[in-house]
């Protein structure tokens, strides 16, 4: 072996070692967080937690059942708002977008992504809550959906653009119109990455607190329908974490743990549902 090759080989080993360290470090943070949450809040997890309403401090048997359902409802509305706009917008940018218009759309999405979530919450407050006269699940879901849009849009665009042009050309050559090419060929080919983007944005809004304070508000009780204020896990975590009581602190940690486990679970579920039938992992 020449010394040049030895040197390059050494560089390779060092750099790959560095990548391993980076991965270990990042995963380690997550493991640490999970462990921390389990340690701090594990004792508060019980069947009560998942089935009971919150109780005042000092009383045993309180839970966050309404917050769990509330978060699910909020994310449902958020998905209805965020996914169509983000996904279809991303399709446009990837397939038809060119020139100044596409540039402006991408730019706008990046800027929107940088708006603090509390500002989105205040905007929705002014546009929805004040005219309606009360807080509601719809307003909260709308705020979360707006936050979802930029991430969904940009990741959809990136992954659809990565689909090789040869695929598109092949489909068009077979006589399929453009829209069929996109719907039946490009999107399924890019679905794996697009799913990852959508799930990433859902995961992000699942933990957002500030926008909900002025839109969905909060509720100690069950929320009926879609026009009443509703409890949500992040707001409950925040409310309990900033209280002076150890019991509530533990419940806050427990709720954070539950939130993470639920997000992980839905991630896995969604990927199983959507990625079945995808052939090779890597494009050739």
């Amino acid at each position: 072996m020449s010394s040049n090759y030895r040197r390059r080989h050494l560089v390779e080993r060092i750099m790959f070692g560095a990548t391993g360290l980076a991965t270990g470090f990042t995963v380690g943070i997550l493991i640490f967080l999970l462990g921390f949450l389990v340690y701090q809040g594990g004792s508060s997890l019980s069947l009560d937690f998942f089935t009971h309403l919150p109780t005042p401090v000092g009383e045993a048997g309180g839970g966050m059942a309404n917050a769990l359902v509330g978060s699910a409802k909020l994310l449902f509305v958020a998905a209805l708002v965020g996914i169509p706009v983000g996904f279809l917008g991303g399709v446009y940018l990837a397939e038809f977008g060119q020139g100044t218009l596409a540039f402006s759309i991408r730019y706008a999405a990046d800027v929107l992504n940088g708006v603090p979530s509390i500002v989105i919450g205040v905007t929705v407050y002014g546009l929805v809550v004040v005219p309606l006269g009360h807080f509601s699940t719809l307003a909260g879901g709308l705020a979360l959906g707006l936050i979802m849009i930029p991430v969904t849009l940009r990741t959809t665009e990136e992954f659809l653009r990565l689909v090789p042009t040869s695929l598109r050309e092949g489909s068009l050559a077979l006589g399929a119109p453009r829209w069929v090419t996109i719907v039946r060929v490009v999107i399924p080919a890019g679905l794996r990455g697009v799913t990852a983007g959508v799930l990433l944005s859902l995961a992000r809004v699942a933990g957002e607190t500030a926008p909900l304070l002025f839109t969905a508000f909060g509720n100690r009780f069950w929320s009926e329908g879609w026009l009443q204020p509703t409890a949500s896990l992040p707001v409950m975590i925040f409310t309990y974490a900033v209280s002076p009581y150890d019991d509530w602190h533990r419940q806050a940690w427990a709720a954070a743990l539950v939130l993470l486990v639920l997000v992980l679970g839905s991630n896995v579920l969604a990927r199983l549902i959507l990625n079945r039938g995808q052939g090779l992992r890597r494009a050739s």
Partner: protein
């Protein structure tokens, strides 16, 4: 295939979220974070007696509470500081103030080897003005004989968010320090000359616990629950008052004699001998005209319950109950709330 699965998922969610509530009337309130624990206890206990009323209170901050009650998006508000004249002028219906419990702001510190600290008003103001910078400053040593104060720089900690707690603290400092009154002033949020900012009572608590030689101000209940050291403050009568539930109630009782009819009063720096000088009421803000008859009944009956049986729940949670004199003044004031349009 995919759309079918998604449709099933959506249907499952919709079924899950079908109406789960009861037929009870929901009353919404928003405001101060400080009394959230006692309010949630009260609303829960009240619901046990009166199951057809659900009072949903969310702590979004005193300012948030004031704004939402002015907008009409909630049925009542709550605030650690009374509404200003400008804010009251913005209300479509006059807003009434009802004191509920008392809180105290304590000076909590983290200095190794110091168990009990005594502070004069001038010393406290000096620390937060940045004039007194070392723990072994003569002004501090003088009032604390026998305590080994270290030669370390003081790290003041204040609130970064606007809050009623800050308002009470700077209200007191403005009364006892002309320099503070002139240069900094009183508000829920001020331009602090020195120090780190912590978000919320728990933020300040955390910062003080974590930072050696720090001193900050928090609500009494936070200091007690987190087992922090807090200082005795010299009151106007010359005694070094320790913040206890009794000394806080004494401060309120001293103010009861001069209580205005709208209950908007500051009780910091009172004259009574056993009173703790940095105490305050916290108020419920109720519109004087409530359109919905059920909501009106729910709120009025709750207020009456709060003044009679509710006060018994305060001490176990670390809040000081209202003095009898104030309770007696409030009862007739409840009658001012009527049913009608805003």
């Amino acid at each position: 295939m995919l759309t079918r699965r998604l449709a099933l998922l959506a249907a499952a969610i919709l079924i899950l979220t079908a109406s789960l509530g009861g037929a009870a009337k929901l009353i919404n309130g928003a405001g101060a974070t400080f009394p959230y624990p006692i309010y949630s206890k009260w609303f829960d206990e009240y619901r046990k007696k009166n199951s057809d009323v659900q009072i949903n209170y969310q702590s979004i901050g005193s300012g948030g509470g004031i704004r939402q009650v002015l907008e009409g998006t909630v049925d009542f508000g709550a605030s650690d500081g009374p509404m200003t004249d400008e804010q009251l002028a913005q209300a479509k219906t006059p807003i009434l103030h009802f004191p509920t419990v008392l809180g105290a702001v304590v000076a909590t510190y983290n200095v190794a080897g110091v168990d009990k600290l005594r502070l004069t008003p001038e010393a406290l103001a000096g620390i937060f003005l940045g004039k007194i910078t070392m723990w072994n400053d003569p002004a501090l040593v003088k009032e604390n004989p026998g305590v080994a104060l270290p030669a370390q720089p003081i790290v003041p900690v204040h609130r970064s968010d606007g809050s009623g707690t800050t308002y009470v603290f700077v209200d007191y400092l403005s009364k006892v320090s002309p320099e503070w009154s002139k240069n900094v002033g009183r508000s829920t949020s001020v331009a602090w000359p020195v120090g780190l900012g912590g978000k919320g009572n728990e933020g300040v608590t955390g910062l003080v616990k974590q930072t050696p030689n720090a001193i900050g101000y928090v609500e009494l209940v936070y200091a007690v629950q987190n087992k922090l050291s807090y200082a005795d403050i010299k009151n106007r009568a010359g005694t070094f008052a320790s913040p206890t539930l009794e000394s806080v109630t004494a401060a309120a009782a001293a103010a009861a004699a001069k209580m205005p009819s709208d209950f908007r009063v500051s009780i910091t720096d009172p004259d009574a001998p056993d009173a703790y000088p940095i105490a305050s009421f916290t108020w419920l803000l109720v519109p004087s005209a409530i359109p919905n008859a059920e909501t009106h009944k729910g709120i009025v009956q709750f207020l009456e319950w709060m003044l009679s049986e509710g006060q018994a729940f305060t001490k176990p949670l670390g809040y000081a109950p209202l003095p009898e004199a104030v309770v007696a003044m409030e009862r007739p004031a409840i009658q001012k709330i009527r049913v009608g349009d805003r």
